[in-house]
Point group: C2
Amino acid sequence: MKHYSRGELLSASVSQLNTISTEIRREILVTVAQRGGHLSSNLGAVELTVALHRVFEFPKDKLIFDVGHQCYTHKLLSDRTDRFSTLRCEGGISGFPKREESEYDAYDTGHAGTAVSAALGFAKARDLTGGDYEVIALVGDGSFNNGLIYEALNSLHILNTRILIVLNDNGMSISPTVGGVHEELEGLKAGIGDAALFSRFGLEYIGVCNGNDFEELLPALERAKAALKSQCVLLHVVTRKGQGFSFSENAPLETHGYRAAAPRVCAYGEALGEELKELAERDRRIVAVTAAMADNLGLRGFFERFPDRAFDVGICEEHACVLAASLAAAGMKPYYAIYSTFLQRAFDEIVHDICGQDLPVTFCIDHAGVTGEDGETHQGIFDLSYLSLIPNLTIAVPRNIAEFRAMIRMSATYPKPLAIRYPACGSEGECGDVTVGTFEVLARGKAPFAVLAAGERCVTLGERLLARTKAEGRSFTLISARYIKPLDTACLMGLKEQTLVTLEDNVLIGGLGDAVARSVHGKEVRSFGYRDAFIPHGKADALAAEYGLDEDAIFSALGELYARG
Amino acid sequence: MKHYSRGELLSASVSQLNTISTEIRREILVTVAQRGGHLSSNLGAVELTVALHRVFEFPKDKLIFDVGHQCYTHKLLSDRTDRFSTLRCEGGISGFPKREESEYDAYDTGHAGTAVSAALGFAKARDLTGGDYEVIALVGDGSFNNGLIYEALNSLHILNTRILIVLNDNGMSISPTVGGVHEELEGLKAGIGDAALFSRFGLEYIGVCNGNDFEELLPALERAKAALKSQCVLLHVVTRKGQGFSFSENAPLETHGYRAAAPRVCAYGEALGEELKELAERDRRIVAVTAAMADNLGLRGFFERFPDRAFDVGICEEHACVLAASLAAAGMKPYYAIYSTFLQRAFDEIVHDICGQDLPVTFCIDHAGVTGEDGETHQGIFDLSYLSLIPNLTIAVPRNIAEFRAMIRMSATYPKPLAIRYPACGSEGECGDVTVGTFEVLARGKAPFAVLAAGERCVTLGERLLARTKAEGRSFTLISARYIKPLDTACLMGLKEQTLVTLEDNVLIGGLGDAVARSVHGKEVRSFGYRDAFIPHGKADALAAEYGLDEDAIFSALGELYARG
């Protein structure tokens, strides 16, 4: 589509703004259909973003997104119109705000709740340096559950500055938004509440009932801009997730995230739902806790079958973690299902509340490893490291869905904290027993080295390497290192090979390779995993290869080990 | 003191309850004077805790503390009266709630904001299993700033159960409480507010103006207990921190924590304050951010000198981290000072907001390493590990205060995220240049091994080992590994010694030893640090030795390395 300057937006009539919005909406739909991405959230925020670009002057003024699931219109209205078709491709436009990409992106985001804090930092810096710009935090209502938002709101009195918080309220996070604040917002929308909750924090409240209507939106935004001269302002804008395309309006959850490729069977989540439901039929202590993503984690069936024993607390990873801990302390058997990257938010609570008390909570960690198109903030490449350092925690890395199922079944009677870590998608496969702390020897071979691989991506890689090796008339011992902690030291001790090669879908620092090196003495350890860097957006397999799991490079390294050996 | 049963509390007159409270207060004072501990917070909550023990039936009912700085009266009224004199001694009574210690302690705590989430978990477990008990969360007003509390309050509607939240409001966290919620509470106390903020979340509000007066306290608590039969209740109790002893009432901050031993010069914090103030005189970009602990971190002087450039946002470690990130993104030079253990709360924000954007924030990480009497939740033994795995982060570990000062001065122009990690106390000493990524060779020697030590505790240990070695007519090379990341690979490559011995005041998993092992090939690495366990309360030096830094054991290991040749 054509690039619209601010001057064009300023001189446009409402009717012309609607035409521009339609054009933007089509561009988003066409691009997402091709590249995947966040659809319904972006469709809902088109008019709001167009209005912001008309009323404020970016990049002089600073627009800070929360999460960033609604930044596409912003990208189309700033300096990236011509490149927008590269959305989420390696080297192309990121699906999230990125400072490196454009000066219009003031602050990088990806996880919920950071926008108000970040806006306050920009505003304080402006005040201290005599700067002349406005700061706008654009936050979805799902994030308003997150504790970080409240910490920021609570500090408005202390920080004594001016920011505009635009609350884009579509009633959804990824799942429908839940909780007390949501009820408050619903009350305001229905005209039965008042803005007390927000005025307590020192916010001037302005409401917009139809945030997809420029006639309502523009005057309210001008009013907010004027009020912002002297105080903090909350502009509460009701929008419709998926607006503009009925298939998305009617199925906002299903169209929140959209994959461009042919649908893959992402069966780990499905398997979790099936196994957990079956276990829960027999064991009344089993409960499930999630943070706003029950469907994505495969737990819709569990939530429907056991509504009393399933808790979705909204985008509150820490609260979900403590809730799981205390449910366990009170005798229940909780499963906390979450994406790898989001679990980072609950690190302290994993350490003290769950592992410090040695409570039998099972973490079901989905989307582990390189995940691809969502980029830096969504790769699950740190978990093996930040979990390994925690005492009392057992870490399991199944090599296929069958083994994952077996581990979930095993977990039902496992009396300690347990983390099971798996990718989004995989294959069913087969497995034997899954005794905690044992590796599985997949192949015995003759080589001066053995290969230890953790998880489906790496075991598959190991199998491909073995096939290529066999094609050359050689072999090696291939082991599935299915428990990172505790390691199978008996297996390690028993290996005659002088060099141990480790493969992990995780950063090298603090992961499997380090653990093996710490456990064996007098052997050489060669570790393959991700180098010390943030991994941007792109195709998962290509990124994995580029950042450290390159099949050809590893095959060649194995060749050198043969030559030495 | 004598143990008072619930029967005795129930039959006691108000006058007798006051006598019991006086007795408890004296016991706390005498014990804390001898053992150290949290004084003013405990003194303020005596009547409240006595009243709770009279009105509720513990351990059948569950009392869940937040942080736990006010649990001493609870311990004196439960099954630990006779052992209370062992407070904070190794093997004795913990200063925090501990499930292992007593069935009266329902849930372990130490960090802020967990009590409401934990109470909800216990309540849901009760509902699901048909249990018959009440759940009470006892929370200080300082914790009410913490985002985790809000995540829990926000989920009251979702979880649909009954808990009593007792808000012990003494107007202080460790520092005076600040923020919007605090203003709200002050308004309620002054009779000018209403309880709207809390009723929005589904809480019945009951206020007690003088929570040190049984005549007010007991009927309110009975009312709360009755209301609790059908809903969630917030009992807002105003108490006086330090109540009962004028020296503590008048100096609640200074008597919050009390050290039994002769006051040590904990000069790292002082040095931070001095250096930062001096740098800030010349560089207007320098700002300081803390989470409720400016005084303890040595920053009182900075806050007084630069009130506009110093931000204490309350017990909000995550918000403080994003605020620091965004101040940096907007061109400022932020210093985020915090204790090691509390920084765990901001792990995700360190990863994405600061290091993901490669922003020049300097973390000043105080109380790193084994800290002693506060136990599991306050040891700073994980930071080298959870920080090492983060891309873009430089990690410095000064060996004395002079070097720490030099690193702070270096940081003023350092353009990337930097973590400087130091213990509470230390000696001034001397230092040379502190070029990033360089080790310092402290002594050259002749041995088949070299010793690499990180930080003051370990360098001092290395020096003691060297002195003992020299007394035997031998020597070794001793190196201060003052940057854990990046490592001084040139120095490591240049070492002729075949074995590298590492010493670190941190868990072994993911720390210095692992980093060295990852960097050198063909050499043996022998790592000494803490084994994979939570370290309880006791004397820091004794704990350090017991958990992995035992001088005699290491000396003997070095002897074996000499013998091997």
